[in-house]
């Protein structure tokens, strides 16, 4: 299987604090890969490093056999590597349809496209995806007026609209009504299988990640602690210790 994202020996410090130390991991194409770890173990920092928010201190990041270590956020996003945020990031003063429309892929956008109206297909795709995440009835509401959970769903739909190759999801179920979590897991799996989007998911909810991922990496104190199938991770003594606070 092809490796889509290849993180090689990445280290990142803030001042004197080591957030990521010598981390290497691979995200294979077409699969769902999980990333777990206690609070402050450097999961989100790693995401930020991959998508280009932070310049890394050492190591390299390769996406589709292409070195992207020094690329900017926008350039990486246009290559098809997208992330969602832990705290929702949406365009609050625009309605859901507008939020979706502006998320169309920008990969091949030329200067003249800036001044064109949207095509019919774009509108149809918006309707499809909003229905897919269950926000169709709220499509004309201002995004800022939606509840936190709905904003998360909208952000997920916006990411799908962008048609990425791989999607980095930062705690997709945090803050979502527990009764809706099963539906969300189902949608993530469908996005993976039907749309062919590779997923790389940070998750705190063990039930969710064990259910979802095929391969899991576990971080602790900024270092890679363990990796393996959900079963192996569940039974790994080091992982259990890390979560229970033993050293």
């Amino acid at each position: 299987m092809r490796t889509l994202i290849d993180v090689r020996n990445v280290s990142k410090t803030f001042g004197g604090v080591v957030a990521n130390h010598d981390i290497s991991l691979k995200v294979p194409e077409g699969e769902i890969t999980g990333l777990i770890g206690p609070n402050g173990s450097g999961k989100t920092t790693l995401f930020n490093c991959i998508v280009g928010n932070h310049p890394i201190d050492s190591g390299s990041i390769v996406f589709q056999d292409r070195e992207i270590t020094t690329f900017t956020v926008q350039k990486i996003a246009r290559l098809g590597l997208l992330r969602t945020f832990q705290q929702t990031h949406i365009y609050g003063n625009m309605n859901c349809i507008q939020n979706m429309l502006i998320s169309v892929p920008h990969r091949t956008e030329g200067y003249s496209d800036m001044f064109r109206p949207y095509r019919r297909e774009a509108y149809e795709r918006v309707d499809e995806l909003l229905e897919f995440v269950g926000l169709y009835s709220k499509r004309k509401l201002q995004a800022g007026d939606l509840s936190f959970g709905q904003q998360k769903l909208l952000e997920f739909a916006m990411a799908l609209m962008n048609g990425p190759k791989v999607l980095l999801l930062d705690e997709p179920t945090a803050g979502i009504n527990p009764t809706l979590i099963n539906g969300l897991i189902d949608r993530l799996k469908r996005a993976n299988q039907e749309l062919g989007i590779t997923l790389f998911v940070i998750e705190h909810n063990m039930r969710v990640i064990m259910n979802l991922a095929e391969h899991i990496y576990c971080l602790a104190h900024g270092e890679l602690l363990a990796q393996g199938s959900p079963n192996e991770i569940q039974n790994d003594q080091r992982v259990i210790d890390a979560y229970l606070g033993a050293h």
């Binding site: 800036m114 169709y136 009835s137 509401l141």
Partner: protein, 353 residues
């Protein structure tokens, strides 16, 4: 478009065309009103729609004015000698020479302003919020001071523009109609622009620029384009205003940062920023208030204007249209409640759970 809206446009255009014939004594004032509307509209592209509050957009107005002056003069006389003579250097322009010079000057002003916007944009678009406002303010102030020390373009003494070949009535009407056409064109252009992808993109930058970047939007491109569009129209109207006044100098006419420069912000805010009609409304109201204070508050008019700006910003920040949108959102097409029964199967199930 609704018939009532079309009727409104027709009324405005007819009023604009007939105004100098009905009020011949106020032609200059009404021309300035159209210019104010253009100011507010172009400021709002960046300030209202894109969330980049510039205090230095007046730079393009002055840049356009000087570019056109140089272009108009340079075709028929050496610029250095012409400016150093302070109007004593008489050049006899034929009618044709004057008009082609003016036309070329206006076009050059627009294009030159775009160049300035692209170059300066690279210098200031890494700044956000208050830093951007202060940085752009710095650009406008610096331009005024630097031009003031540049003898080739007349320095602080200014330039007397080529004399219009015609009577005073014809002259004022001629420039009135150019400003009028420019303002109407700006409005029409922006009205179309905000319906394209461009409109959504700059709104997205206003609401959450880091998200827009994370989604791969070409933010720099959109920001530069937005500033260039504002610069283009401001540059052209600057060229026209320079000729309309007949004499240009850096501090009071070309780069009046503390008057026109701040007025364009105040007018947009007064009408409601981030809307198409807000700036038009704000500019009209502000101009009327300004003229009234000129008549009734002799001497203290500037203090009164400053106070109006403060009151506007502090107590009435959302502006007239912003207030109306809060009050009657449905009239502006903003939906606050999901419409029941409209939801399709999946959404309805979800909501019921």
């Amino acid at each position: 478009m609704k018939p009532s809206v079309i009727a409104l446009y027709v009324v405005i255009v007819i009023a604009g065309i007939t105004a100098p014939l009905v009020f011949p004594n106020y032609t200059f004032q009404i021309a300035v009103l159209w210019m104010m509307i253009l100011f507010a509209l172009t400021w709002d592209i960046m300030g209202g729609q894109m969330g980049y509050n510039s205090l230095g957009n007046i730079f393009f107005f002055g840049a356009g004015m000087y570019i056109s002056a140089v272009v108009q003069i340079a075709q028929f006389a050496p610029v250095g000698e012409y400016t150093s003579a302070f109007g004593a250097y008489q050049v006899e322009f034929t009618d044709a020479q004057y008009y082609t010079g003016l036309g070329l000057g206006i076009v050059a002003a627009g294009i030159g302003a775009i160049f300035c916007a692209v170059i300066l944009g690279a210098c200031v678009f890494g700044l956000r919020g208050p830093y951007f406002a202060i940085g752009t303010l710095g650009l406008a102030l610096a331009a005024a001071e630097l031009i003031g020390g540049w003898e080739w373009v007349g320095g602080g003494g200014g330039i007397s523009m080529p004399v219009f070949p015609g009577g005073p009535d014809l002259r004022s009407r001629f420039f009135y109609y150019i400003v009028f056409v420019l303002a109407i064109t700006t409005f029409g252009f922006l009205r179309w622009l905000y319906t394209t992808r461009f409109g959504l993109a700059i709104n997205a930058i206003r609401d959450n620029e880091s998200k827009a970047e994370a989604m791969g939007l070409h933010t720099k491109r959109y920001k530069t384009a937005a500033w260039s569009i504002a610069a283009f129209f401001l540059g052209m109207v600057g060229a026209v205003f320079g000729n309309m006044v007949g004499f240009i100098e850096p501090l009071e006419v070309a780069f009046p940062t503390v008057t026109f420069g701040i007025f364009m912000v105040a007018m947009s805010l007064l009408g409601g920023k981030g809307t198409l009609w807000g700036p038009v409304l704000g500019a009209t109201l502000f101009h009327v208030i300004k003229e009234l204070t000129w008549i009734y508050l002799l001497g203290w008019q500037w203090v009164a204007l400053g106070a109006i700006i403060v009151i506007n910003v502090v107590f009435f920040q959302q502006g007239i249209l912003g207030w109306a949108m809060d009050r009657w959102p449905e009239k502006f097409g903003i939906v606050v409640e999901p419409s029941p029964g409209e939801g399709r199967a999946v959404g309805a199930q979800e909501a019921a759970q």
